[in-house]
Amino acid sequence: MFRLTLKRFLQFLPGLFIISILAFVLNSWAPGDGAEIYLNTIYKGNFRAETDSEEVYYETRSFLGLDRPLFYFSVYTLGDLHPDISFKDRDIQETAEILSSKHRKPKAVTQYAMSLIELKKIIRDNKLSGEIYRISRTLFQQYREKPISANLELLNQWMNKNPEVPGLRQKVENVRNSFQRINTTPVSKLHFLPSITWNGWKNQYHLWISSWIKGSGGTSFADLQPVGKKILKALKWTLVLNLISILLTYLLALPLGVLGAYYRDSNLDKILTITLLSWFSIPGFWMATMAIVFFTTPEYGLDLFPTMGPGYIDSDMNWWTIFQIRIHHLTLPIICLTYGSLAFTARQMRQSMIHELDKTYIKLAKTKGLTEWQIVIRHALPNAIFPILTMFGGILPSLLAGSVVIEYIFNIPGMGKLMVDAIFGRDWPVVNSVLMIAAFLTMLGILISDLLYYWVDPRVKMDEK
């Protein structure tokens, strides 16, 4: 048993690794610049108005680890910029990358980018602002020939109109020459060869995953709190909802399933089957919306439940009042979360029970003269129940998805609500962390149900399932 558990667990590790890579890739694809969003949260949206914004920006970038390479190794072609080269300006960096992937001449492109950096430096040193600043910024973003020469021409015009700035003319000339050099230098012959560099442990993935292992999981863009803390807080609600829901599901589904199987093909069974199938097809968010529309507003005379949220709790309330408030607020969400899995489980239970009741040992029990009650409860039920118990791993994902719906609609601060809020707030670290945690929980559920299955029926070989 122990060996099997270990083996199964080890089989899960690659999956976990792949999921973490997936979440990380999503994280790095996300639009917006992490450092920029971080700073905007601190400076309440107007950090670009601060004086030393560029310096602060790069310090924050390296503080957040965003200047590191993405993964343990980088793959590039010899025609690309070397991944270690980085220019301390986002536009110039991007332009250099595009230019090198276009022209396949990394050296010439590097020189061009360096000349741009020098131009930027002289403009900043002389505190030139206004038109020339704008022209230079557009120049930094161009990678096609025409707009670049047009912008250089604009720079020349500006210089002719305004008082001489020492060195500026030369720098502009430098930019022009180095751009022409990109066109004139021949393409290096080996530009298409792939190449690989080892980045060591100082990379973004490593930083991210080790912050997960330590439990913080990065910083939320919304309030700069550790993501892990936020998720833990939210997980509490999701777990409470789902545990109650699972408990209710099994408590109600087992009797319903047994009833259906026992009175098979009777009218009762037919009604049960149709009811359960239609419950199963009712979309959770429709049910929840209907519940909110009809049962929480006085419009239709059925104002039975409070509107939304988990209820407000004062610190000096005694547990009974708290309990009442919670029950009052959570009844509708729990009903909406439960009925679907209840219908599913009851149908499975009916099938499993029918399968058991058809077996020969039940006939033997009948001929022995046992009462129907005894046969069903003592003999068939324990055998029929096990496949259903082990199914719990399988319903966990759908419960998690369901709780996204329910928490969002009923405004309960669980994982699902956290996720949806983070998506609307463009809070990518939270989004991808929730994704990873949910995948992890699902894997755990599958693992547990596999082990339960084996525990119940050791004849099942793990690999041949």
């Binding site: 089989q11 690659p14 999956g15 792949i18 999921i19 997936l22 999503l26 694809w29 996300a30 639009p31 793959v75 072609t77 025609g79 690309d80 595009i98 992937s101 276009k102 990678y143 530009h191 298409f192 792939p194 199938l277 239609s278 199963f280 097809s281 009712i282 979309p283 968010f285 429709w286 919306t289 209907m290 909110i292 529309v293 009809f294 929480t296 507003t297 419009e299 239709y300 994902p397 998690l400 998805a401 996204v404 719906v405 969002y408 609609i409 996720m419 949806v420 998506i423 463009r426 990518w428 989004v431 991808n432 929730v434 994704l435 949910a438 995948a439 699902t442 894997m443 599958i446 690999d463």
Partner: protein, 385 residues
């Protein structure tokens, strides 16, 4: 199979939606001239409406309107602000009555439901089509070859792996500027030909290597285990959360993304059923016979086994379509990933949350989702038994 008629009905609504609910008349006769304004999207109409003019204002002698004389985007200025289907509505005749009410902007709910049918079915069918393609191929491979049925010589295996990786790198990665910034069909064509060319060269080299001593040994690839692992991993990805995360990242939402992502995640059930059926059928005598006749593996798999394995595949396909429609409805309910101008069942249901007294906003679109999902679930049940 009366259920199939329900399916036909839905498909009919989806296909003919523009003729059932449209603000433009099907036929109008003005001053002795006949016009078909409903085609005007495809063929410009000679008859032009003035600004602020409606079809009613024209001096027509005969007009035939669609069943619902509103498009999903038509804003009825007289009936803004949630008009109930039973309540007072400012309409000129009963022909223009909003049978399912209006939303806050004065758009007809019935017309929205008609247009939502198309979106829902499109997402369900195309997403599950993708899923079926992936699932059937992988399931068939896993079931037919098992863990020891797929073997190849070392030389060609090694070269094929190296070749494909290198070809991808050279064909696509190192040409990414031309693909991303100078987007053109020729550039993609060049990339694909580089990819295929390099792959072929390496495969050819692999065939040559196969003759050499070390490389001529066979290795078996445990396809079954690999595919089962893959299924396990994909299964553990929470579809809804991944969809939400991905769609939020994508800058220009479109239905294609939703279909593609659902398709790439929903194939596991189909693959498992296909695998199980293939495991069962491949040991039957008629497959042995086919093998002895010298038929190729491909032919045996897809011509001899697949038709007999189709029932469970259809069952999971049917349930899958129900699930995909639900997912789409929920995504548009949240307003994630669906272009905002699109009216779908989910987006209408969401507007019910803005104004609680408008029960018709909650009941009709939700009821439509429910009926469709129930239809596909029942269809699955029926095929199963």
């Amino acid at each position: 199979m009366k259920l199939v008629y329900g399916l036909y009905f839905l498909v009919f609504i989806a296909l003919a939606g523009d003729f059932i609910a449209n603000e433009k008349p099907i036929y109008i006769k003005v001053e002795g001239q006949s016009y078909f304004p409903i085609w005007s999207d495809h063929k410009p109409l000679k008859l032009k409406l003035q600004r602020g003019q409606t079809w009613e204002d024209l001096p027509y002698t005969l007009i035939i309107r669609p069943l619902i004389p509103y498009s999903y985007h038509t804003i009825d200025r007289n009936n803004m602000g949630y008009k109930s289907p039973f309540g007072p509505q400012k309409v000129t005749s009963l022909r223009f009555w909003h049978w399912m009410g209006t939303d806050g902007l004065g758009r007809d709910i019935a017309a929205g439901i008609i247009s939502g049918t198309r979106t829902a079915l499109l997402v369900g069918l195309i997403a599950m089509g993708i899923a079926a393609l992936i699932g059937i191929i992988l399931g068939a491979l896993a079931g037919y070859y098992g863990n020891d049925g797929w073997s190849a010589k070392r030389g060609i295996t090694l070269m094929a792996i190296i070749g494909v990786v290198l070809a991808f790198f050279m064909g696509f990665y190192s040409r990414r500027y031309w693909l991303l910034y100078d987007n053109g069909a020729t550039n993609w064509l060049i990339s694909w030909s580089i990819f295929l060319g390099i792959s072929l060269v390496f495969v050819g080299f692999g065939i040559f290597l196969n003759r050499l001593f070390f490389f001529s040994k066979k290795i078996t690839i445990p396809l079954d285990t690999l595919i089962l692992r893959l299924i396990e991993i994909v299964n553990s990805i929470p579809t809804l959360l991944l969809l939400l995360a991905l769609l939020a990242i994508i800058q220009q939402p479109s239905l294609l993304w939703i279909m593609g992502i659902i398709g790439c995640l929903a194939w596991t059930g189909i693959a498992r059923f296909t695998r199980a059926e293939f495991l069962r059928i491949k040991n039957l005598p008629y497959i042995d016979a086919a093998r002895n006749l010298g038929f190729s593996d491909f032919r045996i798999m897809f011509k001899h086994i697949l038709p007999n394995a189709s029932t469970p595949i259809l069952v999971s396909l049917s349930f899958g379509i129900a699930g995909a429609i639900l997912l789409e409805a929920f995504l548009s309910f949240l307003g994630v990933g669906i272009p905002p101008e699109k009216v779908t069942w989910g987006s209408m249901l969401n507007s019910a949350r803005n104004y609680f007294p408008a029960w018709w906003l909650a009941v009709f679109p939700g009821g439509m989702i429910f009926c469709t999902v129930l239809l596909f679930n029942l269809l699955g049940e029926r095929i199963k038994s």
